[in-house]
Every structure is written in C-alpha cells, then in structure tokens.
C-alpha cells in the first residue's frame, strides 16, 4: 500500500514538473526510459526466479485452480475487446493490452508507454490503478453476486498483495491461497503478455 502511494506520487510530481517545465534540460532532452526498462526487466526476472513462493504455490495446487487466473486472462481480454467498440480513440489491440495489466499498473504502463506512446501508457496506468481501487471497494459486492471467486478475479495480479486482506476477509481464509496463486501467476505473465499483444495481435 505504501509502495502504491509513493509510485503515484512520483508520477504526479513528474506531471507537475513537466507541466511547468521546472526541469533540468538533460531530463527533457534525453530518453532514459528504454535502458531503465531493460534494467528493470532484468531485476524483475531475478525477483521472480528467487521467489520460492512462485514455484511452491504452483506445485501444491490442484489442476482446477489454474482455471482462476485463466478466467482473469480470458475475461479481461474479451471484456476489453468488447468495450473497445464503444471507444473511438482506441482499437481492440490497445484495449486488450491495457486490460492485460491485470492491475499491475507500474509495469504494464511502463511497457505500454515504451511500445505505444505516452497516451496509451497513461490510460494503462489509470485503468490498472482503477482496477485495484474497484477491487478494494467492491469485493464484498462481487463475492455476493458473482460467487467466491469474484474478488480474486477482480483483483487480478493485485490479489496476492494489496487486495489480499479484503479478499480473505470477504471470501474466507481458505480462499486466500487461491488468491495468492492467481496473483503470482498473473504477475509473472504481465511482462510477457502485454508486449506480445501489442506486437503480434
């Protein structure tokens, strides 16, 4: 939670500084983001490789639990694809790439900015932050009307950390392991799926 707030603050401070051009020139003229992204992916890789959770959760769980992140992937992509018909400025591929962040806004918005430009990057940032906020607020409602998986699929990648407490509280502790499994799997998939959609679809 603390991390999310700092990330958003960094973004907002950047926007304000950019708007008033209150910046040293080298920051405006150079583009560091590409090489920073390379470095970032290297370190994200280390983090996933070293995470014993990532592997043990997958080993322990039964086959049908795979269905939960699958629902998130299919549901998000299909839902976003349909929504894209109602938005003039965005095509289907772009909408699907934004939705493929599954709430992991820092990484997905960085990727999308690099590939498709700042406008879609900002849409990805806002859209995925919104996904987290909606899950935090509406999980009890989702669980009541869409079954026990409601909060877990709404949270997407955030079901393993920021949204876990509210999911566990409104769904029951025994579902927390499914939430973590789904969140971990989606977190690992995001850096592969977002560029894949933008490059090949």
């Amino acid at each position: 939670m603390k991390n999310s707030i700092i990330i958003l603050l960094m973004f907002i401070v950047g926007v304000v500084l950019g708007m008033y051009k209150f910046l040293p020139n080298f920051l405006i003229e150079n583009d560091f983001s590409k090489y920073s992204l390379y470095a970032l992916m290297f370190f994200v890789g280390i983090g996933i490789g070293a995470d014993s959770n990532a592997f043990s959760v997958i080993r322990k769980t039964k086959i049908k639990i795979i269905l939960v992140p699958l629902c998130v992937i299919l549901g998000s992509l299909v839902g976003a694809a349909i929504t894209s018909f109602f938005i003039f400025e965005i095509n289907m591929t772009e909408a699907m790439a934004v939705a493929a962040g599954f709430g992991y806004y820092s990484l997905s918005s960085i990727f999308i900015t690099e590939i498709s430009g700042e406008t879609l990057g900002v849409i990805a940032l806002l859209s995925n932050v919104l996904r987290e906020i909606i899950t935090l607020l509406a999980t009890p409602f989702f669980v009541k009307h869409f079954g026990k998986l409601g909060g877990i699929v709404s949270g997407g990648a955030t079901s393993m950390d920021t949204c876990l407490p509210i999911i566990s509280e409104s769904t029951g502790k025994e579902w927390a392991i499914i939430a973590v499994f789904s969140g971990v799997l989606l977190t690992i998939i995001v850096p592969f799926l977002v560029p894949f959609i933008l490059t090949f679809i």
Binding site: G47, L67, V98, I110, I123, S154
Partner: protein, 93 residues
C-alpha cells in the same frame, strides 16, 4: 521487445540460482522498486510536457474507466461460470 524478454530470462535464471543469497535478492528487489519509481516519474514528466495528453485528461480518464469496467465485468462473468461448474460442490456441500 526481444531484448527485454531475453534480459528477463537471464534474470530468472540468476534469481533461481542465487535464491538462497538473501542479501543479493533483497538488494535486487530494492533496485527494482527504485527503477519503478524513476520510470513512473519519467512517465509523469513526459505526460506533463505533452499538451495533448494534459488537455485530454478527462477523456483519457473515461477511456481508462471503460476498459477497466469491461475487463472486470468480463473476469467476473467467467469466474461466476467457473465457480458454478467446478468449485461449488466441493466447497458448499
């Protein structure tokens, strides 16, 4: 995007090999956080300098909301069907 996936795979292997070197892993997770802060800060600067985005902020916000709405609703519908078909018997009866 190929170099990105290549670098990530190298990271994955290194992370797995050195998974017991707590100091190294902690350090790399701190660096990850710092790079994310910096990149989001840079994205912010880019957005602030971009007059088209700033003047369209409201419109961009609505697009973001619509995509989120579609994605969440789609996930919920798939999850509802999956829950009824595969999860309800074991956990409810």
């Amino acid at each position: 995007m190929i170099p990105v996936l290549f670098l990530m795979t190298i990271g994955l292997i290194l992370g797995y090999v050195f998974r017991n070197k707590t100091q190294f892993i902690l350090c790399s997770s701190k660096i990850t956080t710092l790079i994310i802060y910096m990149l989001l800060f840079l994205l912010g600067i880019g957005v602030g300098l971009n007059k088209t985005i700033i003047s369209n902020m409201m419109n961009i916000g609505i697009q973001a909301f619509l995509i989120t709405f579609g994605a969440v609703l789609g996930s919920l519908i798939f999850a509802y069907i999956t829950y009824k078909l595969f999860f309800i018997n074991k956990n409810e009866k």
